[in-house]
């Protein structure tokens, strides 16, 4: 008799797993099947991977209208469409970070695409698999790191996201009255930790008493958990909140409703918080996408900066992650201060200019040390001093 009730419990857990990895409907990939005879049009201007490609494929992990990461990547793909009117741009939304991604990319390649943008962190491994199978196709991954030898036809690219976050941190450090900032994040990946640290360092550079309280949600988008995280942070006296996750509206609106301030991430959401908007950071992918497509099309991909782990920063003026507009509360003096800091970190400084210490007091960067992008990416494994909270336990 009793076993009967284990069955529904089992069914529930199976169904939950299914629900957790659902949301796959690669609608747009159908486009790629339309004209599959264009594959022969290659090798007209050189012979490197992607040379002479008539089509370029983009895969996104989420929907193109998420008010965030995927929307920005999609906007970049449309900029490519505009810049290369003779090329066909194939896009696929909601592509999971598993073998489905391989399948979608294979389909695009079968349809004639020789340049593939795998735009999510977890799309890199399937992307590398595809690159290995198709030496004539250039595959670039957005925001991950190839730690082995980089194949001739692959690479990663990303912006130094923590630079504008550091600048927004300055605005937050000036704006806070309680000296408590809040940071709601999804997962403790190095990129996120670097953002949190840069935010705290920026705020502390103008306000030594400031602290950043962190809460993680363990989900790229769970609005209910975000709502609760915001409430908890506000209850602790936090008056400026920011975040790093895919869907951002809930936190922004929660701050506005509670009469608190908010620093944006991924997109300009100032219209959602007309009173509380302080500053923010957003994506502008067009230039990098266009340059990658151009390089590959001309057959010059192999050996180019994109045939590596390419990181664009404000040092080369190409950072695809830029400052959003300021809120009305930010005064001219603060704007000037931020502008000066921007010039400084772009010229010969860094948000992580030493001395920077971890929470436990150990040294992250020595006094006077100006770390390069690679060193920063490597060192951000723990929170810096001034961040309140622990990394999630495993």
């Amino acid at each position: 008799m009793r076993t009967r009730w284990f069955l529904p419990a089992l069914a529930v857990s199976v169904a939950l797993t299914a629900a957790a990895c659902s949301g796959s409907s690669d609608s747009a990939s159908e486009d790629s099947a339309k004209a599959d005879n264009a594959a022969e049009g290659a090798a007209s201007t050189g012979s490197g991977p992607g040379a002479g490609s008539k089509k370029v494929g983009f895969i996104f992990v989420g929907p193109k209208d998420d008010y965030g990461y995927n929307q920005a990547a999609y906007a970049g793909s449309q900029a490519v469409k505009k810049a290369f009117p003779d090329m066909e741009v194939l896009t696929a939304e909601n592509v999971p970070e598993d073998d489905n991604a391989t399948r979608v990319m294979e389909k695009m390649i079968a349809g004639g695409a020789k340049i593939i943008f795998a735009t999510s962190y977890g799309h890199l491994d399937p992307g590398l698999k595809v690159a290995e199978a198709h030496p004539d196709v250039a595959v670039v991954g957005q925001g991950n790191f190839i730690s082995k030898a980089v194949p001739k036809n692959a690479g990663t690219y990303f912006g130094t996201v923590y630079e504008p976050v550091y600048l927004a941190g300055i605005a937050a450090g000036k704006a806070t009255k309680t000296n408590k900032l809040g940071y709601v994040y999804a997962f403790p990946i190095p990129q996120t930790i670097a953002n949190i640290n840069a935010f705290q360092l920026g705020a502390a550079s103008v306000n030594p008493a400031v602290q950043t309280y962190v809460v993680n949600t363990s989900s790229w988008c769970d609005p209910a958990k975000q709502a609760e995280a915001a409430k908890s942070l506000f209850a602790q006296g936090v008056d400026v909140i920011t975040q790093h996750q895919d869907c951002t509206a809930t936190i922004t609106k929660a701050a506005e409703e509670a009469g608190k301030m908010v620093v944006g991430y991924h997109a300009d959401a100032s219209s959602l918080a007309p009173k509380g908007w302080v500053a923010g950071s957003e994506w502008a992918w067009a230039d990098i996408y266009n340059d990658i497509v151009k390089t590959a099309k001309e057959g010059k991909f192999t050996g180019s900066p994109y045939n590596a782990n390419y990181r664009a920063g404000c040092k080369d003026g190409k950072n695809p992650f830029v400052q959003s507009k300021f809120g009305t509360m930010v005064d001219a003096a603060t704007k000037k201060l931020i502008e000066d800091q921007k010039v400084k970190i772009c010229k010969d400084g860094s948000p992580f200019t030493g001395e920077v210490k971890f929470q436990d007091g150990s040294v992250m960067f020595k006094a006077g040390e100006v770390p390069d992008y690679a060193a920063i990416e490597k060192a951000n494994t723990k929170f810096v001093k001034g961040v309140v909270g622990e990394l999630p336990k495993n």
Partner: protein, 305 residues
């Protein structure tokens, strides 16, 4: 605010969407139909509620629309199970994915929409009571509605004539037939009504709790609701306790983290299912006496008539 007040307040706030869905599932199961599509009904309610509130400017119209949307999705399940004789579990899952797909498809335009939403309203007098006040009486209107719904449903199921008929349809439908009642309309009403409640749960999630729509935003809360129903024996008052317990589990993580403690979110997320398993194991036999007999036929390919 002390951590206890914070977690209890968050438990009510976060548990309310689960509560609505679990009440709906209780009604449905009392009539002998398990609806694993509850999560789908929640999503349908969340989107319809948010969309209609955005279009019309009235959150209550949104709440109505959300209930209707949840009910319509449950109607698909009811038709499959009651009229076409489909396997209840299979049909439930199909309905879940139908709801997930449809809401993702039609929800795209509302991801960026701004809708009027339900905000917390402190009840004068009651909200001044220490602890009880902030926990129970500084919530949004949909929470207050759920306070009324719990005793009402309890009375309906166990004290009213309609409730007797509904339960009879899930226990021994033959008796109803012998007494000259038609079983199927009662079961249809229970499943659709259950879906409407799940839809309201979705409305609370989108238009009161998070004030946003995003695809798959229920993230498993519909299944938590099904789990609550199992260990709360389909009794509204126990269901409320279970829903609030899981709401509190969800609120515990940010409350601890904001105070500087690192915790494992994944472990906390598993709490509802672990509790359910433990309850089923410990009280298994006693629980079983409480299960509507009609549910025992769920695993037959035949419909429960």
């Amino acid at each position: 605010m002390t951590i206890v007040t914070e977690v209890f307040t968050g438990g009510i706030r976060g548990g309310t969407s689960i509560l609505y869905a679990a009440l709906g599932e209780s009604v449905s199961e009392r009539a002998g139909v398990v609806n694993l599509g509850t999560e789908g009904s929640m999503l349908a309610g969340a989107l319809a509620g948010y969309a209609v509130a955005a279009e019309t400017g009235h959150p209550w119209l949104g709440a109505f629309a959300g209930a209707v949307a949840g009910g319509l999705l449950a109607l698909v399940h009811a038709y499959m199970v009651l009229s076409r004789g489909a396997n209840q579990l299979a049909s439930g899952l199909v309905v879940l994915f139908l709801g997930l797909g449809l809401t993702s498809l039609f929800g795209v335009t509302y991801v960026q929409a701004v809708a009027p939403t339900f905000s917390p309203v402190a009840i004068p007098g009651l909200s001044a009571i220490p602890f009880i006040g902030p926990v129970f009486f500084e919530q949004d209107p949909l929470v207050y509605l759920s306070y009324a719904l719990v005793p009402l449903l309890s009375w309906f199921l166990f004290r009213s004539r309609w409730g007797v008929l509904l339960r009879a349809s899930g226990e021994r439908s033959e008796v109803l037939v012998a007494h000259g009642h038609r079983v199927r309309p009662i079961q249809y009403a229970a499943v659709v009504g259950g879906g409407m409640l799940a839809g309201l749960g979705g409305v609370h999630l989108s238009t009161a709790y998070t004030k946003a729509w995003f695809e798959n935003m229920a993230v498993g809360r519909g299944f938590v609701a099904v789990a609550v129903v199992m260990f709360a024996s389909r009794r509204p008052i126990r269901v409320a306790g279970g829903a609030y317990l899981f709401g509190a589990a969800l609120a515990l993580s940010p409350a601890l983290q904001a105070r500087g403690f690192g915790i494992n979110q994944f472990a906390l997320d598993a709490v509802p299912y672990v509790v359910t398993l433990v309850v089923l194991i410990v009280f298994g036999r006693r629980q079983l006496r409480d299960v509507p007999e009609g549910l025992s036929k769920v695993f037959d390919a035949q419909p429960t008539r």
